[in-house]
Point group: C2
Chain length 206, copies 2
Amino acid sequence: MMKLHDSMGPNPRLVRMFLAEKGMEVELVPVDLMAGENRQPEYLQKNPTGQLPCLELDEGSFLSETLVICEYIEDVHPTPVLIGSNAKEKAETRMWVRRIDLNINSNMANAFRFGPGHSLFKDRIRTIPQASDDLKLLAAEQLAWLDGQMEGRAFIVGERFSMADIILFAFLEFGSNFGQPMAPELKNIARWYESVAARPATQASA
Amino acid sequence: MMKLHDSMGPNPRLVRMFLAEKGMEVELVPVDLMAGENRQPEYLQKNPTGQLPCLELDEGSFLSETLVICEYIEDVHPTPVLIGSNAKEKAETRMWVRRIDLNINSNMANAFRFGPGHSLFKDRIRTIPQASDDLKLLAAEQLAWLDGQMEGRAFIVGERFSMADIILFAFLEFGSNFGQPMAPELKNIARWYESVAARPATQASA
């Protein structure tokens, strides 16, 4: 059985959501992020970047980077489809994953690391505290842009629930708990958020 | 035949390199980035983010986001393999693509947009000029980290040339021309850079 080295935070959360949507069970191995266990030599042998989560494969090798773990899970466990069942569907999902990841999620994460989370991160990574407020604003603007794109769509890529929904949900959930709530006027996003929150896999993996 | 809507810059460059390594020919459609042609309605219908490049598929639909275009090309034209021939190889390549993209390339690009390129970008996107110097430093530190990881390796993922090499090369080439040269003490990166620069596909797609 695969093991997921797991912690608090939106990145482990989104991998747990992805696994739950697939109906897969893995062993969860908790890593103490607050105590910096992920920056100790034992964990760095698993993932040299010191980040979480990381997936331990059956044969004992380790895979890290959240979005890559999801792609791997889809490759070895294709159904239910969360990325795509052909090249074009995959491309469509990945295009939206990319836009959300780069324009919203990464900016939200860095706004947190450089701002409210600075005391936790300042001795672990190079932080840019003077960018925190603008990153927060940038993420909010990009979410408003996405709200416009979502008019009439059930999910991010249209009628299919996909990895794009999972990654956005996990970060908006994080933001709502840590100082970056969604603007209430984003009606399409609000409607979509409620529908993803209600999914059994979302609730089972919280 | 597919068309690549193309311009100056490291992102179009890396897609052209990827296509050349595959031995594929596509029609190149130049878009005038300096004149802002990519921010006009005609181009925004192709890619609503206004970024380049964008791939026009045979049936007339459009695909954007550089790394997603590369994944699509690999899906429809698997050989020579540039991502992976099985789930584990794909995951390994994608893990390094991700680290390079997020920690090096994105930081270099934003350091440029927020710094030396500010006059071009300030009216097109939200810029964070006060972050430019730190982003440049962060990219340089992450490149130094990668140099350590590359000890004894021919290519980023080991003995296989891959998409990870292509994306790093395109951004280091850009950096060397626009104020972010590689530190000369990074011997592994320097050796690797020369070997990628000498490849026929690199030269044919310049």
